[in-house]
Symmetry: C2
Subunit: 158 residues, 2 copies
DNA sequence: TATTGTTATACTCTATAACTATA
DNA sequence: TATAGTTATAGAGTATAACAATA
């Protein structure tokens, strides 16, 4: 590939190009790996959020990461069908469905986290500790400067 | 958003998360901006590639960035309908359609490049020149280490 | 037989709008 | 009237497979 004459590697890549190139690669690769535990990135992300705030409503969870209500339904449906999440009635407001992880859900989350860690290591393979820290800081600064929102992943929102 | 209790910002982000977060943001933002000249990222990319290798066949262009033949048809169809690209017969092989930019295509490309430059500036706003260079080098190293392929954008391939 | 370009088709992801049951 | 959840539906983007013309 690198030796082809018809590709885009003649000009040095811009930061914008590199960022989107590496970012999409990282997302794709993570999607591949998290599939090993029969999850996909959105599902894994929701599992994490429920774990961090058990008993919250579907829409409260969704609002935090800019996921519309209708999508939350589909996502939670799938998690519930697989027995990873439970929808419990909220006695104070019968419209609300409070979300809880099942034991199976908790175990899936643990396995997912191990994969996330392995993915992180794969992605930073061959990088010195200094470079990792440096890169993290630069990207974090960008998230703040560009007002992306910490923890808000655009691939799971609008 | 940053003050919400139900979001993902409690734990410090991993490099994998940051990379995909910032990368997808950069892609989305670029898509928004390039729409100002009535293009989308794949179309702009193809325009660039044709400019760099005029007279090549559709499939030769597509192969360099891992785009399947059937998709090249749709992409070039659209560019041709808008009068940005011309398909010319190749007298040596009548199966082949050689691609050329029209004057209008060249002008669209110029305007697109100006937008790409503005996008680059927006994305690196508030960053020192040192940090830009540093970030570029780190990402470039990652592209090589992860065998992503210089100039090959995963968002325009498989 | 192999290759270029094409068509037909289908699948994934996602959002918008309308609906229901509660409040 | 407003809100939580739901359903119906449609659009964008993309890939695979089969096909026609030419090599």
């Amino acid at each position: 590939m690198t030796g082809d004459s018809v590709n885009g590697d003649r000009a040095p890549s811009t930061l914008a190009f590199l960022l989107s190139q590496v970012g999409i690669h990282a997302s794709r690769r993570f999607a591949e790996r998290i599939a090993e535990v029969d999850l996909n990135p959105p599902l894994f992300r929701i599992l994490n959020l429920i774990d961090a705030a058990e008993g919250q409503s579907q829409q409260a969870i969704g609002a935090g990461i800019q996921v519309p209500p209708s999508r939350m339904v589909a996502l939670v449906d799938e998690l519930e069908e697989r027995g990873l999440v439970e929808r419990r009635p909220n006695p104070e407001d019968r419209r609300v469905r409070a979300l809880y992880l099942t034991r199976k859900g908790r175990s899936a989350l643990t396995r997912g986290r191990a994969i996330a860690k392995a993915h992180e290591e794969e992605l930073t393979e061959g990088m010195s500790e200094t470079d990792r820290t440096r890169l993290t800081k630069l990207l974090q600064k960008m998230v703040d400067q560009q007002a992306i929102g910490r923890g808000v992943h655009p691939g799971l929102s609008s």
